[in-house]
Symmetry: C2
Subunit: 243 residues, 2 copies
């Protein structure tokens, strides 16, 4: 019974029913477990790596540093997400990847991954689904920066994260634990940290959501959805893929 299910397995299982053998292959990818401490870059901007990782525990941030020194966060990764998969497949990493807290991740060599794909096409399908979802999130993020005001951006961000975390059992409509600082939010949402603070206060005072002491609590989920104009369609889009 007691087979500890990895977050990635959990996430993929929500969308594709995987057979026992497929699950076996998937778990085997998690063998080379490693730890990394917070704050030290996993991948430096401009460097290209040999291996990808599957995040098992902890939070990671992907960012890009501007010539003027400011930082734009492209995305956060949570357990079950791939790290640097694209960098490996495309031999190019133009952004940095840094653990926010101490993390656990499984190292996956390209060859292992390709072999797993060959063995179990349905698994390949599922993983490509995850990749396409990541891309959809980046696009949605771009839309948010271009077309939403600060309140909506923040609301949308917190809601999206909630949905993502729920998929791996780390969140619900009630809320979730979240180790991000207001500076992280600022760099992700294209705001100043000061304004992030004000926005959070406003959302809290409006009885919509409370982010405090590392915990996000949805005080009024539907109200927040309205503020954000949140439509989670892009997160659970139809079963994808050639397969």
């Amino acid at each position: 019974m007691k087979i500890e299910t990895s977050p990635l397995t959990r996430k993929l299982s929500a969308f594709v029913k995987l057979s026992a053998s497929e699950l076996g292959v998937l778990e085997r990818l998690h063998e080379r477990r490693k730890s990394f401490s917070a704050g030290r870059d996993l991948v430096h901007q401009g460097q290209s790596e040999q291996a990808a990782y599957i995040l098992a525990a902890g939070w990671v941030v992907s960012y890009k540093i501007q010539p003027d020194g400011s930082r734009q966060i492209v995305d956060f990764q949570i357990p079950g997400d791939f790290l640097g998969l694209r960098s490996v497949l495309l031999h190019t990493s133009d952004h940095g990847i840094e653990p926010i807290v101490e993390i656990e991740a499984a190292e996956v060599m390209v060859s292992d991954l390709l072999q797993a794909f060959a063995e179990t096409p349905r698994l390949a399908t599922a993983i490509l689904w995850a990749v396409s979802r990541d891309e959809a999130m980046v696009v949605e993020h771009l839309v948010g920066l271009g077309r939403r005001d600060a309140d909506a951006r923040m609301a949308h961000f917190l809601l999206e994260l909630g949905v993502r975390l729920s998929l791996v059992g780390m969140g619900s409509r009630e809320g979730y634990a979240c180790p991000l600082t207001q500076y992280h939010l600022a760099d992700a949402l294209g705001l100043s940290a000061i304004h992030v603070n004000r926005v959070l206060r406003k959302l809290r005072e409006d009885g919509l959501v409370t982010f405090r002491d590392g915990v996000v609590v949805f005080d009024h989920y539907d109200g927040l959805v309205a503020v954000a104009d949140f439509d989670p369609a892009y997160l659970d889009h139809a079963r994808p893929l050639l397969s």
Copy 2:
């Protein structure tokens, strides 16, 4: 001699030296030529398509409509770019694709593409390079929206477009023809059309760049690069890929 070289071939040749047979396969992909008129969506938001296209002539815009009706442009495609490649590979299109002018495009069935890949791995490499470059552009776009002010955003955008067009012989350091309206720029850069107008005026009065009557003229290229903090590294990154 006179083999009319497609823009895609031109673009890829700038990065990977392709053999005669590879060039042949590439040109064969261009066989099913079609025209589409301006303004009618090629792909509707939410719809998923069977075929991808290689743009041969004209300009195309990829955008996403918000629930509130506003539009965010994700990217523009110019000759030599793929349309809907990701949508096809991942069976998911969450954004619309619309020709800006009358366009010519070659329809490519997934099967043709996969077969071409099997025949010529180096070609697959080259095309994946192009895909990864597209992604880098989206990320750079995201960074611009989050961390650049209106002037820098505009300058960066015009410069990036210049580099892209140069690769297919449609532009140079002097300038290029550009059918975009100020509304297109506004929706791409996350600004109001009115502000776009003012920004263009300022850049023109500062003697940096002139965008008028469908033509972009770089009056002072290096000055514009300075305003934009433009570093084209992400556009011509190292030869990529597993191959």
